[in-house]
């Protein structure tokens, strides 16, 4: 059943795909460079316009439904699904279907993805203006494919389609992280991102297959129904959904699979913005939100999700404190904020987590693109070689500060609203006292490292070499749009709109944004303010020298500088287990498998060497053979 909503959703997915197809199949267009960018921009721009239309449409529909509920007393479902048979079965329901699922969650997410993708592609026109045309065309091909994959994932009505797009997203991130494939570090980072996320995907595909084996369903709706009907054993359900969660852990860079995300900084900065804000890492959070009824039915699992999320948030925040590279600070802050989202989901408040995803999408894209403008201007990633850029780059400094304050969570910026919702949700959830404390500490740390980044980049320090300047309009435009979004996105949940966030989701998620106790905003604002003040005090005014501060933390500081040795641990595991196994297999191949072949060939050679002496080359010897053979035949024939 195709309705206008599903048609719009299909169009949203199709337009970036058309751009990717055009760029992929038409080499002259791809090699044209900027023209390829225009093609990609048309694709994602069209997707953006349609996604906005769809989201506003649903918003209006939700408003009508709310009125309907108030007058008639019930809420009509606003979930619309259109599918085609993919793997048809004779005389039965199709084994698998493809299609689109339109509901408030997917429409809002698609709007965010299309917006960030469009702005990033626009920004890249300026950022990558010096690239070779061929490379630029390749870049825009991957960008279009990336947008298509993520939008397809967002609208997936079932696990199987989601998995296909999930892998496509992973592939595109691999291609884009490794865009500068001539640089060994970039190639290694791309492979690392691919392998680490694949480790999680292994769990995801196992979970999907196990769920399908038990229920015969791939669809989110059908699975939620059968789980609600008690069709599955709780232990089995916990196992399978736990495996699905493993996929989200890999994709959304949760501990212990977060190690790929900081290394992904080797890609071009706009790619980092895209991966961090909208298309790659949010997929895991989106998956958990999408499959939330299943997670909610698995006993104990949500607690695990919350604990892992809170621990990830705290761990990544401490790691962000010691980075010198501005992009790595932002990367660890993404890991940390993803921890917030997951904790909110684990606390049973998907709406809060999703709201944080939306607002984070705005300000993290903003921060990355602004950082890209800085890197573009001063040609270094090291914050200690920047400083006093506020005078040379006032626009960039202004938008970066807006993004940093939003990330730190100061009112009235969007980050405050969503972080507040997350904290309230975790406070209210039973048995999550320690995760709440972790998140509260993380609020302070977040503000501290963002204050440090802002000061080191734009205010303190010695000032950069050369003459940095603000980016051209094609790069500044997206920055301003995102800055406005970072300020205003919190308005979604303000309650002043004719229709709140909660009502928009009514009937889909348990979407009432939790309200914490009255002291909670004061606590989080106080912590954030204290963190910013401490960051400024250390790095701007020099109240305490950063070196002294680091020494004060002793081994902890040194361990954080090494990433808590996690990379080293993985490397050791890789060397010990994987290379050890490979060596055993290599020995078997070299000495057993090859040995059999070598022995066979050696025997053949030796037999040949022995037999060659009878080939004398003298015709008479051969005639002897013929005569003897004839004689032998005669004897056999004439025997008795």
């Amino acid at each position: 059943m195709a309705t206008s909503e599903t048609t719009l959703a299909a169009l949203i997915v199709a337009t970036p795909f058309a751009a990717a197809l055009l760029l992929g199949c038409c080499p002259p267009l791809r090699r044209a460079g900027q023209l390829a960018g225009v093609v990609a921009l048309v694709g994602s721009g069209a997707a953006l316009v349609i996604a906005m239309r769809l989201a506003s449409w649903l918003w209006v529909a939700a408003y009508r439904a709310e009125v309907f509920r108030l007058t008639r007393g019930f809420t009509p479902s606003r979930e619309i699904e259109a599918t085609l048979a993919w793997l048809p079965q004779a005389g039965a329901r199709p084994l698998a279907t493809v299609g689109v699922l339109v509901d408030p969650l997917s429409s809002l997410m698609a709007a965010l993805v299309a917006l960030v993708a469009f702005l990033v592609q626009l920004y890249s026109l300026g950022y990558l203006a010096d690239e070779r045309p061929g490379g630029l065309g390749r870049y825009y091909l991957y960008q279009s494919l990336f947008a298509f994959s993520m939008l397809g994932l967002v609208f997936s009505p079932n696990f199987l389609q989601l998995f296909v797009f999930w892998e496509l997203v992973g592939l595109c991130s691999y291609l884009l992280i490794g865009y500068y494939y001539q640089r060994p570090a970039a190639a290694r980072a791309a492979v690392k991102a691919f392998w680490v996320t694949k480790l999680g995907d292994l769990g995801l595909v196992l979970g999907i297959v196990l769920l399908w084996g038990a229920t015969g369903e791939f669809g989110f709706e059908a699975l939620a129904r059968s789980v609600a009907g008690g069709a599955l054993d709780p232990g089995f359900l916990t196992l399978t959904i736990g495996l699905v969660y493993l996929g989200a852990v890999g994709k959304s860079a949760q501990f212990p699979l977060h190690v790929w995300l900081p290394d992904a900084m080797e890609g071009p900065t706009p790619v980092s913005a895209l991966i961090h804000a909208a298309t790659m890492v949010t997929a895991g959070v989106y998956l958990v939100a999408r499959a939330f009824p299943l997670f909610a039915a698995a006993p104990g699992l949500l607690t695990v999700v919350a604990w892992v999320g809170a621990f990830t948030a705290l761990l990544a925040a401490t790691l962000a404190l010691v980075q010198r590279d501005i992009k790595r600070v932002l990367a660890y802050s993404t890991v940390s904020q993803l921890g917030y989202m997951m904790t909110a989901l684990g606390a049973g408040a998907p709406a809060a987590g999703f709201l944080h995803l939306l607002t984070h999408g705005f300000f993290k894209a903003l921060l990355f693109l602004a950082a890209g403008a800085v890197i573009h201007a001063v040609a270094t990633n090291d914050m200690f070689q920047m400083g006093r850029l506020a005078r040379a780059m006032p626009t960039t400094a202004a938008v970066f500060v807006v993004g940093a304050l939003a990330l730190a969570g100061l009112p009235p910026l969007s980050g405050f609203v969503s972080k507040e919702a997350v904290l309230a949700a975790v406070w209210q959830a039973p048995g999550l006292g320690v995760p709440f404390l972790m998140l509260a500490v993380t609020v302070f740390l977040t503000a501290f490292y963002m204050g440090r980044a802002v000061v080191l980049t734009f205010f303190g320090g010695s000032g950069p070499a050369g003459h940095p300047h603000d980016p051209p309009p094609v790069m500044a435009g997206p920055l301003w749009v995102l800055a406005v979004g970072s300020v205003a996105a919190g308005g979604l949940a303000s309650g002043r709109l004719p229709l709140g966030f909660a009502q928009f989701f009514a009937g889909h998620l348990d979407a009432t944004l939790p309200h914490g106790p009255d002291w909670l905003p004061w606590l989080s604002v106080g912590l954030a303010g204290a963190g910013l003040a401490a960051g400024a005090a250390v790095y701007q005014w020099g109240v305490v020298s950063p070196v002294t501060l680091a020494r004060g933390f002793g081994p902890l500081g040194r361990a954080a500088a090494q990433g808590y040795g996690l990379d080293a641990t993985y490397a050791a595991m890789y060397r010990g287990a994987l290379l050890g196994g490979a060596r055993v297999v290599g020995w078997i191949d070299r000495y057993l498998v090859d040995g059999v072949v070598n022995v066979a060939s050696a025997w053949t050679l030796r037999a040949g060497a022995g037999l060659r002496v009878i080939q004398t080359g003298r015709a008479q010897d051969y005639l002897y053979g013929v005569a003897a053979g004839v004689l032998l035949l005669l004897v056999i024939w004439a025997w008795p």
Binding site: R612, V613, I614, Q615, T616, G617, R618, A619, Q620, A627
Partner: protein, 98 residues
């Protein structure tokens, strides 16, 4: 009567074969081949006389012609080999040795 002819032919064939196998000179080998062919001719004529009819005679005539051409070709080859290798010893002509 036929039996005696066949015995003579077999003896001539065996002598020819022995020559072919044992002579080291290429011309001697050709002579051996001639003997073997003539043993066949004796057989053909003997069978024709014993009742096989005209075909045996005709075939013997063909054989004689073919034998002559074969000797001509064979001797030509021997002469060419002698010119190239300066020898007609069969033991030395072993280019195909493995």
């Amino acid at each position: 009567m036929l039996r005696a002819y066949l015995l003579v032919a077999a003896a001539v064939f065996a002598i020819g074969l022995f020559g072919v196998l044992s002579r080291r000179n290429a011309i001697g080998i050709l002579l051996g081949i001639e003997l073997m062919l003539n043993a066949v001719n004796i057989n053909l004529v003997a069978f024709a006389r014993a009742g096989a009819g005209l075909a045996g005679w005709i075939l013997a005539l063909f054989m004689i012609a073919i034998t002559v051409t074969e000797v001509a070709v064979g001797l030509a080859i021997v002469i060419v080999i002698f010119r190239v290798r300066r020898t007609v010893e069969a033991d030395h002509l072993d280019l195909l040795r493995g």
